[in-house]
Assembly symmetry: C2
Homo-oligomer: 305 residues x 2
Amino acid sequence: MDSAVVALDIGGTAIKAALLDRELTELKVLRQPTARALGGHTTAAAVAEQVVALTGELTGGGRPAGVGVVVPGIVDGGVAHYSSNLGWREVPFAAILAERLGVPVAFDHDVRAGGLAEATVGAARGVANSAFLPVGTGIAVAIMIDGKPYASGGYAGEIGHADVGHGLPCPCGAVGCLEAVASASAIGRRYAERTGRADEGARVVVDAARAGDPDARAIFDEAVDALARGLRLLTTVLAPEVVVLGGGLFGAGEFLVEPVRRALGEYLTFQRAPELRMAELGDRAGCLGAGLLAWQVTDAAGIGA
Amino acid sequence: MDSAVVALDIGGTAIKAALLDRELTELKVLRQPTARALGGHTTAAAVAEQVVALTGELTGGGRPAGVGVVVPGIVDGGVAHYSSNLGWREVPFAAILAERLGVPVAFDHDVRAGGLAEATVGAARGVANSAFLPVGTGIAVAIMIDGKPYASGGYAGEIGHADVGHGLPCPCGAVGCLEAVASASAIGRRYAERTGRADEGARVVVDAARAGDPDARAIFDEAVDALARGLRLLTTVLAPEVVVLGGGLFGAGEFLVEPVRRALGEYLTFQRAPELRMAELGDRAGCLGAGLLAWQVTDAAGIGA
């Protein structure tokens, strides 16, 4: 198994796991619900147990060359400082797994890993300075500088909580956050609030907007404007050459990208407009990024040995 | 003269020039108005002539080890793509000067060079990820990543044109730009417009605000709020550990920094607040940064020889 790594993208509800060779070919793929211990909590111990079991299952009981794991939250230096989806605080998960697995372990942030994958084998390959903007339950951005993710202690990239001026409250406690009107969950919730219907998620709202429902159109248009404003500030401050648009919401394709591109073009004056590209790796980005990180840590350990 | 470089910070009105040893000690300093050719234009040819003359004057006719030059505008890869202060477009000034001077030449952006100086020998020395925010006629930010300036083709760092929500027009053509209410020039102009008095610059407004003038206080408070909002977005997206505050406006010291820090603290929820530090190098930052870049290019040429 020296020729393969195990990669795991651990979310609050599900784990995507894969056995990957050096070309990131998926030799084997598994998905399962994230482990919950007694009381329904996702504890680090229960998830570590699950990672060990999944590694064994993927390798047929052998030892992989290395393991890469990514999670949401504030993650840096092998430690999950805070992950609201997992309910973790200050979990040194890299060290925990390295002890359990006995192979080199990389542990990092899911969105940054996804950005690394898109910048290495996806939509932004060959681009020095790019950004990966997945829009799903939340919104964060992976900032890629010279092809490498920029972390700043795990605190960078929280563009979902940049003020885009709509004046509405965000669960984070601030006002005007991009995420509060443009995330998939916000779109579903806001449409439900506006119409009195049940929240059936963003896809239903996007489809209704496409079909001409004026309530859906209003919610959709506000999300478009907020995304364009978020991209304006990213462009103004960071000037990425390419922004890779991903996450569930951009499953809407050109119906969403086209008005976002047009609104961004109207907001920019002298700035260099980034090329907006659709993500190529879909929901595999985080897992493939975990695989790239696993190979990096494995190669570094090899050099050290 | 192998032990010294010549550093020049060329602005629209004046040039600061210095002869610097490897420790950036100012062996000799000169200031003079920026050359204007016939018709009052600042041509690249006239300025190149002036750089040659200043280099001769600083070195007593000898050859320095290298020369570093910085200008405002969109500068990258040795070329000034656009500099409104100098009236330049697509000027390959590094190549022009290298041919005239016969020594290694570095040519870069004034604010990024200032950021490099503050991060190397100034207020952010030893800090990996910092930002240098000089507030003067305009507002830009030098983004320092692992101690190195981030340029992205020269387009990065235009935080003066981030939308901070005040809804007022900016000369750039957009609405809500930070620079339109918080630059020193905007503060002077807005106070003059509000009171019908002559525009005497930001310092007079700051002094009047300090003395209790309600018009000055209103203009000052709007600038404070805009700066805090600009710092909120910088913190949210880039999470610098330290932000170095400089430029003429921050000559106001704690009278300005204290309310900016307080307002920023109120805007942040889960983000990591950056440490706000006063710049240490004053208006020498750009010139010292040019010196650092001159030493870099000189050393690189030495390795290549």
